[in-house]
Symmetry: none
Subunit: 414 residues, 2 copies
């Protein structure tokens, strides 16, 4: 089954946004076992969109179009589908009512221009959009199934996962199922993981073994195809066991088990509350932890102590300590932990202090100190990181979460 | 001058990496004033690469190909260019020597497989690669200039900036320059902005007027072409004035002026420090503000008060107030501001409390309260937002930053 993707939007061609949708959809197509041979971007131009649709429908079994279906005059994917299918446009009273209700439910009056979204090519059906007003469209053009969905990732992804992939799988149900297992690792470079698993990558067929590189964590994905999910899992199991045997404690989680989730589960298991005392990371660790639904079971709060006066005041770090060791020091980070544990009433606290750049704050840019206290112990670590301010901060957040995990399990001092 | 881009690499189609090169090249083409109508991705397949090159060379003046010119068996862009140009491959002794020297200079022996890179289609010239071994290629196919460069961003970008753009500009030096101006708006839906500016969008030629939708802010982009930058700015000025006249205070900034940056500038102008008291947003506002280099001039810190005990303890919110009004209330949000102003020693504090979901915390999911205190006044607002937890939190952060901006300027209570 060959699936092609087409992104519509002049802003993509101008480089104002990165086409991350293409990668999101691409990885889902790969997981589902579909072939993805062409990915195209065109601007908001009716002739070029129509031509791109026509070309794709002659060479693919399905086409997923993202973008160009909002309410503005720029949004002309509907019209291009109509032209490519050689079918006229029709107005849906039902959908116009649905749109008006959507706005009414939010206590607002719908701008009349939104009625553009109730027009669609004859023969098309609407795909519900649970996250926004712009509905998707599906229709057959020639032998090709064409899906058009919004370009906004938060609206687009649920429609791909909830409607498009399942309907394509249902139509081609002789192909069996595809099951993926993602093992999450931390603390090792991509090239070292590659060395450790080299023969598994090269020879892999079913399951296939592949890398997913991301910021500070390396993921290993095992993908198997079989007649049913149970059979696919049986194919994955021995390879997963071998990967885990070779990588050992580097594997910290699997699938949706992010470090934030695993940390929160471990805290609940031990009956410990947690908080953060953040300088260099400015609240990013707290933001990451509270991104997990139900975080409030363990996470109580944070003190973001950016200014020296807040470190001394709200966190009670002795001024003499800062003068003696500098604000970017393991001594100050540990004192921040102690102060926050007291101020927040938390069992476990992680603290960060460092120089993310451009200002050095008395330490070379890229120097980051992470400290953790738990009821069982305390430890601090100084890291030097490359990259710009944003990259240094992001790596520090991931590293801080992993050091908390190691501290809560006791591994850090065992 | 129409320039097309083609990225070669199966890993792009599988979604293992995001095609950030396309955006990098796209923004450079826009800056140089070239038209960029098509961006295509194909995998490491000789037939599909050749077909994509052939198609591009019939509709564009220039084609930039990234990827597929490394030393491995997967790297077949050279062969596809040879096929598309219908020219045989030739071995360059000069380049083979150059490659051997490159490795020798680094004290290493060149793997023989690297000699693949010394083969090129007859008629092609090599483009030096200052950052790696893989040379680029340039040749004319039909009336189209074709450039092939590596896919690694660190090698690719210097070749685009140093060779490709200058050589295209030199060939078309009558074309002038392109200047863009982005006006940032907040507080109005995309469709309402579209209505207000409808005639400007439709009729726009030079400058063109276009939308850039993003989370809670709508951007309007004006792009003009002229003989020099000053002339382009002169074309933009009256249209910018008209857009600003129609949108009024909805326009809060331009170009790189994000709400965080503008807020920090306004705070510095007034000599006020700021902090945050976050419940529902869990540190995200602090993280956003501290993402701006130099934020420490005004930002002092935050108290993330997730747990009720932290609201009562570190922020001193009276327990009776929470019992009377509920934790998601304007009364509690204002008390959080007052408490944080004291604890942090900050002139201006924004507080958030709400139900981001899935737990209701005594208020319907999606209810968010934002409060701001400044030395001049205090105000709170209750919002209802659609969407999932992540979306509700993200919108609340943007909204909170804008309400701080309105409070610091005094607009909120004027």
């Amino acid at each position: 089954v060959i699936v092609e993707t087409l992104a519509v939007g002049t802003e993509l061609l101008l480089g104002q946004i990165v086409n991350s949708n293409a990668a999101e959809i691409g990885s889902r197509l790969a997981d589902a076992g579909f072939d993805h041979y062409h990915q195209t971007v065109v601007g908001d131009n009716i002739a070029r969109i129509t031509e791109a649709i026509t070309r794709a429908t002659t060479r693919a079994d399905a086409l997923i179009i993202t973008g160009g279906i909002g309410p503005t005059q720029d949004d002309i994917t509907r019209e291009a589908m109509s032209a490519a299918a050689e079918m006229p446009m029709e107005f849906s009273d039902d959908y116009a009512d649905h749109l008006r209700r959507w706005w009414e439910d939010r206590g607002r009056v719908m701008p009349e221009s939104n009625l553009r979204q109730a027009w669609y090519p004859v023969g098309a059906e609407m795909i519900p959009n649970p996250k926004g007003t712009a509905p998707g469209l599906r229709m057959r053009i020639g032998r090709c199934r064409v899906f058009a969905i919004p370009g906004v990732p938060a609206e687009m992804l649920p429609m791909v996962d909830g409607e498009i992939i399942p309907s394509l799988l249902a139509e081609h149900d002789d192909r069996g199922v595809v099951v993926s297992r993602v093992l999450r690792t931390w603390g090792e470079s991509e090239s070292r993981i590659d060395e450790l698993l080299s023969d598994l990558f090269t020879g892999s067929v079913n399951p296939t073994v592949a890398f997913l590189a991301s910021a500070a964590e390396i993921k290993v994905r095992l993908t198997a195809r079989a007649t049913d999910r149970e059979a696919a899992r049986t194919l994955i199991a021995p390879v997963e066991a071998e990967v885990r045997r070779r990588l050992g404690v580097r594997v910290f989680g699997a699938d949706e088990g992010t470090v934030e989730r695993i940390l929160l589960e471990m805290l609940e298991g031990r009956g410990w509350s947690m908080g953060t005392a953040e300088s260099a990371t400015g609240g990013m660790i707290a933001a990451a932890v509270t991104g997990v639904p139900g975080a409030s079971a363990s996470f109580v709060g944070s003190v973001v102590a950016y200014d020296r006066a807040v470190k001394e005041g709200a966190l009670g770090v002795p001024p003499g300590l800062i003068d003696a060791y500098g604000v970017v020091s393991e001594e100050v980070a540990l004192a921040m932990c102690e102060g926050a544990a007291l101020a927040l009433g938390a069992h476990v606290v992680v603290a960060t202090t460092g120089a993310a750049g451009p200002e050095p704050h008395g330490a070379p840019v890229g120097t980051m100190v992470i400290a953790v206290v738990t009821p069982e112990g305390a430890m601090a670590k100084t890291l030097r990181m490359p990259g710009d301010r944003e990259r240094v901060r992001t790596y520090t957040v991931t590293s801080a979460l992993h050091h908390m995990r190691l501290a809560v399990s006791g591994e850090w001092w065992s």
